[in-house]
């Protein structure tokens, strides 16, 4: 690659621009990864949010699209404020958050120990890997009818959907994070007299924790998806339920307001887990 680049440069250069006797300058190669100043980074972050927002505003305010289909940002804001004041939005938000807390929490409580075992114990990997490998390819949403038959339309079926949607992925990702621990560190620990339990808690866990939190961050987003899906199908509360209500009355502004709220909550969870990760994984930098 480098050689090709430098030869093509020589041929492209206009005659006389460079004396023929002079060797071409050594090709300059840049590292693949680049970085920008923190000011530029913040500007780009702002652009990333404000750009699409401006496009939305331009589309709706310019009258290009019928406001029934694409309400303007200000209409969405008003709809959001109305819902917030009526108390619907806060109670729906709490209902959805409660389900996330229970379902995602349960999934983490199951998947982290199982994944940890898969990454460390010889027998756990061949025992769990095949079944989880199959189960995770079954779309969790397709289980909704079954779950309703089994568990009814109450809370248990929604929490079960969340668990089903998250637990397999989080298990495999946790196992991967745990397997990243260098074998050499396990050997060193053993020569220092550490028991297996101590190695698990004092070596493997601290080493894998940043990766485990990363896995949770990815799967928290999936959990949000599943809770809204579950509420769209059958619920009497929650943000998904509020969307179906608004749909019945063609209140697209309300639907948009709820989508914005969902996005903001998701962002908050993501940022919180990011902060936790950079705190826990300070040593990785």
């Amino acid at each position: 690659m480098v050689i090709m680049q430098s030869t093509s440069e020589t041929t492209i250069a206009p005659p006389g621009a460079r004396p023929a006797a002079t060797a071409p300058p050594p090709a300059r190669v840049k590292l693949l990864t680049t970085s920008v100043s923190s000011r530029t980074a913040w500007l780009l972050r702002a652009l990333s949010i404000l750009g699409p927002l401006a496009a939305w505003w331009a589309l709706s305010a310019g009258g290009v699209v019928d406001p029934t289909f694409l309400p303007s940002p200000s209409a969405v804001w008003t709809a959001g404020v109305t819902m917030a004041q009526s108390g619907d939005l806060p109670s729906d938000l709490l209902a959805s958050l409660g389900r996330i807390g229970a379902g995602f929490g349960l999934a983490v409580l199951i998947s982290v120990p199982v994944g940890f075992a898969m990454g460390t114990l010889g027998w756990a990997q061949p025992l769990f890997e095949p079944v989880i490998g199959i189960l995770r390819y079954l779309p969790a949403s397709a289980f909704i009818p079954l779950l309703i038959i089994w568990l009814g339309i109450g809370e248990p079926s929604k929490i079960a959907l969340l668990v089903l949607g998250v637990v397999f992925f989080n298990t495999l990702m946790t196992a991967d994070a745990v397997r990243q621990v260098p074998y050499r560190l396990l050997e060193v620990s053993a020569t220092l007299g550490a028991s297996r339990l101590r190695v698990a808690s004092r070596v493997v866990l601290p080493y894998a924790l940043p990766g485990i939190i990363d896995a949770m961050r990815v799967n928290a987003a999936a959990a949000w998806n599943f809770v809204v899906v579950a509420e769209l199908v059958a619920a009497t509360s929650g943000l998904g339920y509020r969307i179906t209500r608004a749909q019945r009355f063609l209140q697209t502004d309300r639907i948009f307001a709820i989508l914005v709220v969902i996005g903001l909550i998701g962002l908050t969870i993501d940022i919180a887990l990011r902060l936790l990760r950079s705190r826990v994984g300070r040593w990785t930098r």
Binding site: E187, V188, A190, T191, G193, A194, S195, R202, Y207, W283
Partner: protein, 286 residues
Amino acid sequence: MTSAAMAGLRIESLSKEFTAGRPVLQDVDLAVAPGEFVCVVGASGSGKSTLLCLIAGLSRPTAGRVLLDGHEVAGPGPDRGMVFQTASLFPWRNVAHNVAFGLEALGVPRGRRQERVRWLLDEVGLGHLATALPGRLSGGQQQRVSIARALACSPRVLLLDEPFGALDVQTKEDMQLFIRQVWQDVGTDPLTAPLTDPEAPHAPADPAHRSTIVMVTHDVEEAVFLGQRVLVLSSDPGRISQDIAVNLPEPRSLEMKRSPEFLELKATVEDLVRAEHRAHQARTAL
């Protein structure tokens, strides 16, 4: 067998095969007295690291056994400290906590632990870096921490696998003097023993209570300078082909490296290693 004969490290017709029929080590016999400093030299791939791992108990021999003070080695343990070629520190633990790891595992009470870590860090010249993370340390400093961490458990035997191989000449020389000093200063007395001398609270009362050191290196000069004995490991299969006593005056100093005795001994060992290498090449050429 008397208890004196049982003391120290004994290796009895030790063999190791990773693939059946192709032994990496074959019928290795070796006795290292308590407090002895032994260096092992040999070509790359001759099985030096394999030998240390077998002594450490990190891998199991195909045949033969390793005995420490008469007890067969069945697995890794804090009585045999190991320092690998590349420092393998716990990156999330600061220097002091790295050194304390083995003491925590042994259940040494906190006060005693902190005091021993402080003393060891001073001994390896890193007292000022106690709270630094390993990622901030130079290669030589990391190796010092690794050595301090292994010594913290007061091991009977310290196993060093080319610990200075990746260091520049100057740092390497410093580290050679340093490991010699450590060998003088750090004993293998049990961590529960009463502290006698407040100036050197962990120094061995008796030279026989010094750590036994088995150090692997491919640097013949280093081996002759550090070791009381130099073992030459042959290749394919690995076996100890020479056992050379180094009768240079103690303590060793850098000037000694220019003395005729030193140079002669170094040349002798180099010739032996070269002959071993030639013989190996001739065998593999067939």
